[in-house]
């Protein structure tokens, strides 16, 4: 669809190519521009650009960080119903720690959120994990009671599953509510209606078996990975309440 007089992408590129890469000895150039001036212009432009970005960043970063923290808080409280507040622990060298080693990147370490009741006693843990689903990676956060070995809740944090089919893993409330009913772990996915009534069964969604299966596997894999750490016992609440997150 390239009518005369209209420019398509190739025309734009050809024009740019023809006029852009002129050699310094090109007779068409009106005057010789010194390399210093070229570099200086770009450097100045770069510096101004950097300044502008830093300014706006100062303004927006606090807003963005606050929103992210709020979203995380909401998710943790959703999968740990009934906790007053929680503290965040990192998995460092096979053990739980409240702080990261100096100079470490937070994103490299797995996190465990330990929920507390108002007396500071442990009341469930939450963790998140992502694995490949039907379409792309599915991110799940779920709550777990290490004493009784049952789940307290589940929330899909990120999913790009097929709309109308795979996205039922967060839209089909009947499916989601199963994770809030305290199922035993490890979970066992069964086809809807074919279950034997065992306490660890989760009915998978008809037409979205793979997506449902992945959610179940994510939870089982996460628990398996964390088992050696959780078996060592849940650490006490930190003495300094500022290191935790207060409930709303």
């Amino acid at each position: 669809m390239n009518q005369e007089g209209n420019r398509n992408r190739i025309d734009v590129a050809i024009e740019v190519e023809n006029t852009g890469k002129a050699e310094p000895q090109d007779a068409r150039a009106p005057k010789e521009v010194s390399t210093f001036r070229l570099v200086a212009t770009l450097a100045l432009a770069g510096a101004l650009a950097g300044l502008l970005i830093v300014l706006v960043n100062e303004h927006t970063k606090p807003i963005i960080d606050k929103y992210k923290a709020e979203q995380l808080q909401l998710s943790v409280y959703e999968v740990l119903p009934g906790v007053e507040h929680y503290d965040t622990w990192y998995l460092v060298d096979g053990a739980l720690a409240l702080t990261l080693p100096a100079g470490a990147k937070e994103a490299d370490y797995k996190r465990l959120y330990i929920g507390r009741d108002k007396n500071g006693a442990a009341k469930g843990v939450a963790m998140s994990r992502g694995e490949s689903g039907f379409q792309d990676v599915i991110m799940v956060i779920f709550g777990f009671d290490p004493v009784k070995g049952v789940l307290s809740g589940m929330k899909i944090l990120d999913s790009k599953e097929t709309p109308g089919l795979g996205d039922k893993i967060f839209k089909d409330m009947a499916f989601v509510n199963q994770f809030f009913a305290g199922p035993q772990t490890p979970l066992l996915g069964v086809k809807s209606g074919a279950g034997k009534g065992q306490p660890n069964e989760i009915d998978m969604i008809t037409g979205a078996t793979i997506s449902s299966k992945v959610v179940i596997e994510i939870i089982n894999n996460a628990l398996e990975e964390w088992k050696p750490v959780l078996d060592k016992g849940i650490p006490e609440a930190p003495a300094d309440p500022a290191s935790g997150e207060a409930a709303q």
């Binding site: 590129a13 950097g50 994990r129 694995e131 490949s132 039907f134 379409q135 792309d136 097929t162």
Partner: protein
């Protein structure tokens, strides 16, 4: 570091989340270059090369430099990509002038190919490590090439058919692309 396995990253980038047919990246060469299988293949290979270099650069930037200034990510990525393409262009010009002539205008166009910048951004967002990023680039590049070559071979055949006048050109390419995209959806769930 993401939890994804290397195999799933590769296979996903290749067919399940094909850069062109599922993620809509790299459409400009897709529309422009895909009339001849030979050109399509060459373009695809040039892209794979640039993609791998980009993945390495992005990993390097992310690990060592952008920790302190994450907001400079877009600017640094695009500068690196523009420089890489410039270098690749000069290299091809020296090593194979015929190839350089054949690719012509499409070589500098790789800079504005959304697939290159897209790869760098996806790699960053998903937190891929070194090997993961590399696998991602190879898979994505092969996927791009696959889509290009498929489209080119279909278009070569279509030339012998009786296409209505209004459909000739981009309209037809888009409809073929839509059908290809539908077909590729069948790969989802293979993992």
């Amino acid at each position: 570091m993401s939890d994804q396995t290397l195999f799933s990253i590769f296979f996903s980038a290749l067919v399940v989340n094909n850069f062109t047919l599922a993620l809509f990246l790299g459409l400009c060469p897709f529309m422009g270059v895909s009339a001849r299988v030979e050109t399509a293949l060459r373009m695809g290979l040039a892209n794979i090369f640039v993609l791998v270099l980009t993945a390495l650069s992005a990993w390097f930037l992310n690990t060592y430099i952008l920790e302190t200034a994450p907001y400079l990510r877009i600017i640094s990525f695009i500068i690196v990509i523009a420089s890489l393409v410039q270098i690749v262009e000069m290299a091809i010009k020296k090593l194979s002038p015929t190839l350089f002539r054949q690719l012509g205008i499409y070589l500098p166009l790789i800079t504005t190919n959304c697939a290159i910048l897209g790869l760098a951004i996806f790699q960053t967002n998903r937190g891929y490590g070194f090997m993961q990023g590399l696998t991602f680039a190879v898979g994505a590049g092969l996927g791009l090439t696959l889509a290009l070559v498929l489209m080119a071979s279909i278009r070569e055949s279509v030339e012998f058919s009786d296409v209505p006048g209004i459909a000739k050109g981009t309209g037809l390419v888009l409809i073929i692309a839509g059908t290809l995209s539908l077909a590729f959806m069948g790969f989802a769930g293979l993992l």
